[in-house]
C-alpha cells in the first residue's frame, strides 16, 4: 500500500517524452501524468471519456490510482479528499457532469484544496448535444458554484495546449491552493495533432507547506493570516501529518474553525478571492495575432480561435487589417488587455449564445459584434469573415 504523494519534481520515468500524434483528450491525460497527478476520480461522459480511459491505463503504470465513481458529485468530492492527503488529483467531465460538480468546486475553493477539473464542453443545456461541440460552460466555469469566489480557467485550442495547459493547471492549483479548470471543447478534445512532450521543459510547482513541525499545543494556521506574507496562500498541512487540522465548507477562521459572522465572512472570503485576483497579472495569458495595425479585432478562444485565425488570414489576403486576441485564460479574464482595445471594432465568435462576449463588452464598455452558433458544429472561418466584411 503506497501513499500517492505528489512527486517533488518531474518524474521522468512517468512522462511520455517524445513527439506524438495524439488526441487532445489523450494529451490532457498525459499532461496530468507529467504534472504529477497520481489520483483520478471520474464518471464517464462524452466527449471527455477518453481522458478517463487514458488515465485508467496510464495511472497504474506510474503507481497511481484510477477510481471510477458513482457520479460526478462523488468524483469531485474524491479529488478534494485525495488532495487533502497530499495527492495531485484530477477529474474530467462535460456539461451535465460539470453542473453536478459545482457545489464541490466551491468546497475546494473554500478548503483551498488544489485540484484540476477538465470540462470537455459539448452543446447544452441539459443532455443537449452529447457528441457535438459546444463552448457552453464558460460562464458556469466562472459563476457555477454558489457564493462569491475566484477561479482560474484555461481554454486550450490544440492538443498541444491540452498537454501544456493541463500541466500549468496543476501548477497554478498547487501554487494558489485552489481548484483550476481546463475548459476544453469537443473539437479540441477529439482532434489529433502533433504533440511534443519534452520533460526538460516541464516545470513543477508544489503547494506551500508548513515549516513548523506538528507539536502538542502548537497550532499552525492552515487558513492563516501569515498567508499575507506568502502572497495570501497559507501553507497546507496534509491528513496524517499530526497537525490535527480542521477543514470545513463553513465560513471559518484562520485555524479552520467554523466562525459564522459577517466579519469573518468578509475577512476570509476576501482573502481567498484576493490571493487569485491580486496575482492576475501572473496568471492571465493570451496570444496576440497581428493586433498592432488592426482596426478590427477578433476575440476568440478554444477551437473557435482556430477558425478565427483562418478568417484573419482570409481577411488579410483581401486587404482587411484584422487582428486577434486569443484568450488562453478565460478566467481571470484579460480585462486590461481588452480595455486597451476598446477603440477597435471587436468581434467575438463562440459556440454559444454569447457568453465571453458579455465579459468583453464589460471591459470594452461598448457592444461588440458577435458570431454565434449554439453548438453542434464549429463556426466556419467564412462566417467570421462575413462578419469582418460587415464591420469593415
Amino acid at each position: 500500500m503506497r501513499k500517492l504523494l505528489a512527486p517533488e519534481g518531474v518524474d521522468r520515468e512517468a512522462v511520455l517524452a517524445g513527439e506524438h500524434f495524439m488526441t487532445g483528450d489523450d494529451a490532457c491525460a498525459e499532461g496530468a501524468i507529467a504534472a504529477g497527478c497520481r489520483f483520478y476520480a471520474g464518471y464517464p461522459i462524452t466527449p471527455s471519456s477518453e481522458i478517463a480511459e487514458r488515465m485508467a491505463k496510464r495511472l497504474p503504470q506510474v503507481g497511481g490510482v484510477y477510481i471510477q465513481m458513482e457520479d460526478e458529485l462523488a468524483s469531485m468530492a474524491a479529488i478534494i479528499g485525495a488532495s487533502c492527503a497530499g495527492a495531485k488529483a484530477m477529474t474530467a467531465t462535460s456539461g451535465p457532469g460539470f453542473s453536478l460538480m459545482q457545489e464541490n468546486i466551491g468546497l475546494a475553493f473554500m478548503m483551498e484544496a488544489p485540484c484540476v477539473v477538465v470540462d470537455v464542453q459539448r452543446g447544452g443545456p441539459s443532455t443537449g448535444l452529447p457528441t457535438l461541440l459546444g463552448q457552453s460552460d464558460m460562464m458556469q466555469a466562472r459563476f457555477g458554484s454558489h457564493g462569491d469566489y475566484a477561479v482560474i480557467a484555461y481554454a486550450p485550442a490544440s492538443p498541444q495546449e491540452m498537454f501544456d495547459l493541463t500541466v500549468k493547471a496543476f501548477n497554478m492549483a498547487e501554487r494558489f491552493r485552489t481548484p483550476v479548470l481546463v475548459m476544453a471543447d469537443e473539437l479540441v478534445g477529439h482532434m489529433s495533432e502533433r504533440v511534443v512532450i519534452d520533460p526538460d521543459k516541464i516545470e513543477i510547482e508544489r503547494r506551500p507547506r508548513p515549516e513548523a513541525k506538528p507539536a502538542e499545543g502548537a497550532r499552525i494556521l492552515p487558513f492563516g493570516a501569515n498567508g499575507r506574507g506568502e502572497n495570501g496562500v497559507p501553507p497546507m498541512p496534509l491528513a496524517g501529518e499530526g497537525y490535527r487540522v480542521h477543514f470545513t465548507g463553513l465560513t471559518h477562521d484562520e485555524r479552520g474553525y467554523p466562525q459564522i459572522d459577517p466579519e469573518t465572512q468578509e475577512r476570509m472570503i476576501r482573502r481567498k478571492i484576493r490571493k487569485i485576483w491580486d496575482h492576475r497579472d501572473e496568471i492571465v495569458e493570451y496570444e496576440e495575432v497581428e493586433l498592432d495595425d488592426a482596426p478590427i479585432v477578433l476575440v476568440a478562444y478554444g477551437s473557435t480561435a482556430r477558425a478565427a485565425l483562418r478568417a484573419l488570414r482570409l481577411a488579410r489576403e483581401r486587404g482587411l487589417r484584422v487582428g486577434m486576441l486569443r484568450l488562453i485564460t478565460a478566467w481571470p479574464f484579460p480585462g486590461r488587455k481588452v480595455e486597451e482595445l476598446k477603440d477597435r471594432e471587436l468581434i467575438v465568435p463562440e459556440v454559444n449564445a454569447g457568453q465571453m462576449a458579455r465579459e468583453v463588452e464589460r471591459w470594452a464598455r461598448k457592444p461588440v459584434h458577435r458570431v454565434n452558433r449554439l453548438g453542434g458544429a464549429p463556426i466556419a472561418p467564412e462566417e467570421i469573415l462575413q462578419k469582418i466584411e460587415e464591420v469593415a
Binding site: M1, R2, K3, L4, L5, L16, G18, E19, H20, F21, M22, T23, D26, F39, A41, E50, K57, P60, Q61, G63, V65, I67, M69, E70, D71, L73, A74, S75, A77, A78, I79, I80, G81, A82, S83, C84, A85, G86, A87, A89, E103, N104, L107, M111, H190, S192, P214, A239, G240, E241, G242, Y243, R244, V245, H246, F247, T248, G249, Y257, P258
Partner: protein, 315 residues
Amino acid sequence: MAVSVRQVEDEALHVIKTDRHPEDEILRKDRLPHIWCPGCGIGVAVTAYIEALKRSDIPREQHVVVSGIGCTGRVAGYVNLDSYHTTHGRAIPFATGLAIANPELEVTVFSGDGDLFAIGGNHIIHAARRNVDLNVICVNNFNYGMTGGQFGPTTPEEAKTTTTPYGNVEDGFNLPYLAAASGAVYVARWTSLHFRPLRDAILRAFQKRGLTFIEVVSPCPTSFGRPNELGEGLDEMEWYRLSCVIDHDADLREIGLSMRKDSHIVVGNFVDVERPEFLERYERVIQRAQGQRSAAQEVGPESKRDQAQAQGGAA
C-alpha cells in the same frame, strides 16, 4: 464490602473536581460548548469513538474523521484529529479520496441518517460494493434535526415530523440490511444506551480492512421525540433499555425499525466477514499495468503505437 452512598458521591465529586475531562485530549476544547441539545445521543457516539480510539493500536495522527452536513455532521469539528467537514451527502466520496491517497490513514465517516442515506445514499452503497477501507458511523435519529425536524430516509411510517404533519406515508430504510446487502464487511447496530458494545464495535471496525458500518440509534428529543411523544432523552434511553433485543445472528431482513412504543429494537454485531479491500485488489491492476508497460517498451516507443492507433481510427 458495602459501599456507602457517601463514598459513591465522594468518588463522583472527585471525578468532577479534576481539571481535565477524560476525553479532553481528543476533543477540541476551544470549540466547546457544542451545539447539540440536551438528551441528544450524538455525544455518546462521539465518546464511544474516542474510547475506541484510545484503545486502538493505530497511532493517533493516522485517525481521520470526515463528516457531512447536519447535527452529526458537526462531529468532525469537535474531535482533535485531522478532521474534514464536507458538503451535504459527500463525506463518503471525500473520505474515499483521503483513504486511497494515503492508505495509512484510519478514516472514519461520522454522519447522520439523512446525510448518509438520502442525499448521500448513492455513495454508501458504492463505497460498500468497492469495499473501500472506511468506517462509517451513522447516528440515526430518524429526522433532519439541524433544519428543524423534517422527515428523512429512516423516518418510520406514521411518524410525525414537521413535513409529515399527518404522519409519514413512506417506509424508512433498514440500515444494517442495506449496508450488508451492499457489501459491508462489518455491520452492527447499537443505541446510545449501549455505550460499551458500541465502543467495542467501533474498535472492531478499526481492525477491519474494508467498509464497516455501525448504526447508532439515537434520541432526538427536540425534533423527533416531541412530536412523537417519546419524552425526554432519558425517557427514550429507558425505552431502549426495555425494548432492545441483542441478537447477533438476527435475520437482517427482519430488523427494520418502527419506533412504536410496543416494538423491539434488534441490536448486535450482525456481520463480520472478510473480503479484499479496494486497494488490495487495485495492487493487481498496478502490477499488470507495469508488467505490460515494460513489455511494450521492449517492442518500441509509445509514440509509434499512438500513431498506429490514431491512424487505425481507434480513437
